[in-house]
Symmetry: C2
Subunit: 468 residues, 2 copies
């Protein structure tokens, strides 16, 4: 248990961080306490905004000495409540939003070094300026920040080709709970000297240390995309199409997204999305990067002949490409206009997708008849956003009250198929109680051992990730 | 400090592993104690050969109880002495060579599950049988085993496109020092539930746990290679060629290797390698996988025009491709016929290669005039095998006596350029004393903390990786 934040501790923070570095007034603190979906509402005595690694270090020295709970916050776009200071727990928010510098970009090394508070968009732009690609791509890329992307091992639409945030990181700088600084920034592609500490911090959601800087991998800029929107006769056919697409493009499939008819209807109705194809049951939106100019045409010919697609349209311009992606990117938001939506961010082995979607749909419908399942997502990674809109006419709050019970129904199917109940978004406070169920005792013991070793007083993001 | 191996402990091992599982006679033990380059000579009272994870677990329970030092050994191809039981230390060898099963291969999931003792070659073959590629590729692939590949985070020629062993692993099974089994085998592409334990074990060289099984990533089989052997006017020109090749192939460069004139001479003289091009100073051997059929031609035209290559030949058949690769693959071995060779496995940021090679060559030559530097390797990763053959006529042993002093000379240049003194081969016993010099106190403390947490009695591969 951490201790209460006293006036004297706040003074010490002010001494280190100056007036700009410590927000105390409610209006100043508000943006750091509000979660964009209004699912979590935070409470904190202060928001700390260090301007340098040195300031983060001195802040944590104070916090560790006085056993003050610190919640690092990056772009405040997290979906599992990790970044929101919990009411009644006297947690102090530490925001990285003043540490936004892009330190260096090297097109020959294919690397970029930045502070943790740099927005994903600013990193993408800095790479593009030297004709390089930073491939991490998420709906929130304008506001999310690299530190949070790494702390949560962010995924997104290009994981199929480029990997998760973890795979895009060459080195880290981390401030430990007691204020010690680990400088692990390097741009080497190969370095087998000792244990891999980088990956210990990546995905640890701010519970093991605060990421203050990162060296990232860049890639050659893509010169040509081939983008296709297709109707598939079944999920299984979609998997056959995926395999064929990977083979015929020379492994250049960079995205392969599944969309359901109902999602396209929602997007068309509420988000002005233009539907690319007539009504069907399932659709895929997929893309080649720098494949042979005739690869997509060859694929289409063969996929139609084999019955893997029943209708398809290939983007003829970048405007049409944007139109296709608009449908995909507004799916999630469009559900807001259809009443309550209970969400699941899950993954199964790719081959299990057809059975998983069938089983989970059946189980969820049995639990609450009349629900409208909007299952979409990163088919190439086996990662589905299995989101469920309420039955028409049902009371919204009565439906949302079933959130956890519905989660249990769906997660049981996920686990039956050897899947993950958090593919992209992490554990945070939302799913930490489930950890006891999904992790073996030996795995939990190792996790607790890491926490004890790196944060013996438990000041960093308490109540997140690890179950009590 | 671990304790002496008593007759009673050996009996307990025999009880668990049976007669086939415990080798006691010198001729039986010999292959496990000999290192292929004859640099290390081992000594052990017994070689243990468990046939299952359960047997590994029970073996470690005994060893941990009695504080017996255990040295896991995979294919015995390591280059830093990690797998060889040290004379005078009473270390017991635990070989994984009876655990060779390929458990499953799934072309849709693009995954393969196997026991840790499966040879790399057998994994490559099992993948190829379902038209998939397991891209890890090393000179020792016929004898090295997956457990060792992962424990040492093996590299090889395809890292540029597919990553290290670390990047090719989806899940692990590990037996901890006290015999507990962590089953982290899964074939999910995305799973953000809790800390990343997998990468903690990968690259830890058997000091934190014994890897007994793995789930691996597969890729689409490559249908077409374009392979080029080219003379480059300078290392800097080679880097320009690399960037141009990546852009013009649509990021399909899967290997980009540097070779020096002297290496080609050695390979031609001692290994019947046919030289692909007339004498020059530096050469590169590089390859596209499934690029557009005209990509290589387009590159050549532009690269000649810009002066990035001065001569080149593109393989016209797979036989010619093999011929090119034969030159590269025999470079290391051919040096054996030229007397003593002092080796360095180092990496620098790719952009630093020209300056690093110049500086290191100068420093080494100043240290021992007349040396013949054979610097070759994975240019695309900044990873050089900076190997130095002795001056003609010098006494071999007198030269080899300078091994460590020469290492220091070269490593100082590496560190000056922000590089790694072990890019691929790891630390083992060979480089562990250097760890104090290359790692910060905070990094060493974290490494020691991990060791204490997972192996409090220090029975796993003592004397490796961590400095005293």
């Amino acid at each position: 248990m951490t201790k209460p934040v006293t006036a004297s501790v706040l003074e010490q923070f002010q001494l280190v961080l100056g007036p700009r570095g410590v927000l105390l007034n409610a209006p100043d603190k508000a943006p750091y306490l509000k979660e964009w979906r209004d699912r979590w509402h935070g409470e904190t005595k202060a928001v700390l905004r260090p301007a340098s690694t040195e300031e983060v270090s001195r802040t944590l020295q104070i916090a560790n000495t006085h056993e003050i709970a610190i919640v690092p916050q990056s772009g405040n776009t997290g979906l599992v409540g990790g970044q929101i200071a919990r009411p009644g727990h006297d947690e102090i928010v530490l925001s990285l939003d003043r540490m936004t510098k892009i330190t260096s970009v090297d097109p020959t090394d294919m690397s970029l070094i930045c502070e943790a508070g740099a927005t994903l968009k600013s990193v993408q732009d800095a790479a593009a300026k030297v004709d390089r690609l930073f491939p991490l791509s998420l709906a929130s890329e304008g506001s999310c920040r690299i530190g949070g992307n790494l702390a949560s091992n962010a995924g997104g639409v290009n994981v199929l080709a480029y990997g998760n945030a973890r795979d895009l990181c060459l080195g880290l700088e981390v401030v430990l709970a007691d204020g010690r600084v680990w400088n692990g920034i390097k741009t080497l592609r190969k370095d087998n000297t000792g244990y891999d500490l980088r990956n210990m911090f990546i995905g640890s959601e701010g519970t093991l240390g605060i990421i203050t800087g990162a060296a990232l991998k860049l890639f050659p800029q893509v010169k040509r995309y081939d983008t296709c929107f297709a109707t598939i006769p079944s999920i299984a056919a979609g998997l056959s199409l995926l395999a064929m697409a990977q083979e015929m493009s020379g492994n250049r499939v960079v995205a392969f997204e599944l969309l359901p008819e109902i999602g396209i209807q929602f997007a068309a109705k509420h988000m002005q999305a233009r539907r690319p194809l007539p009504a069907g049951e399932w659709f895929v939106l997929f893309e080649f990067a720098d494949a042979s100019p005739d690869a997509m045409f060859g694929l289409m010919e063969k996929a139609f002949a084999r019955g893997f697609v029943s209708d398809a349209v290939v983007a003829q311009s970048s405007a049409q490409r944007d139109q296709f992606w608009h449908v995909r990117e507004t799916l999630s938001e469009s559900q807001r206009f259809e009443g309550g939506s209970i969400k699941h961010d899950v993954a199964v082995p790719v081959s299990k997708l057809p059975q998983f979607i069938a089983d989970a749909s059946e189980a969820a419908t049995r639990f609450i008849p009349g629900i409208r399942i909007c299952c979409f997502g990163h088919m190439g990674d086996g990662n589905m956003h299995f989101n469920i809109s309420q039955p028409i006419g049902m009371d919204k709050q009565a439906y949302l009250d079933q959130w956890e019970a519905m989660n249990e129904v769906v997660h049981d199917v996920v686990l039956k198929h050897g899947g993950s109940i958090s593919a992209e978004h992490g554990i945070g406070v939302l799913k930490r109680d489930a950890m006891r169920k999904i992790k073996s005792p030996v795995e939990l013991e190792m996790m607790r051992g890491l926490k004890r070793m790196l944060d013996p007083k438990g000041i960093l993001s308490p109540g997140r990730v690890l179950p009590d």
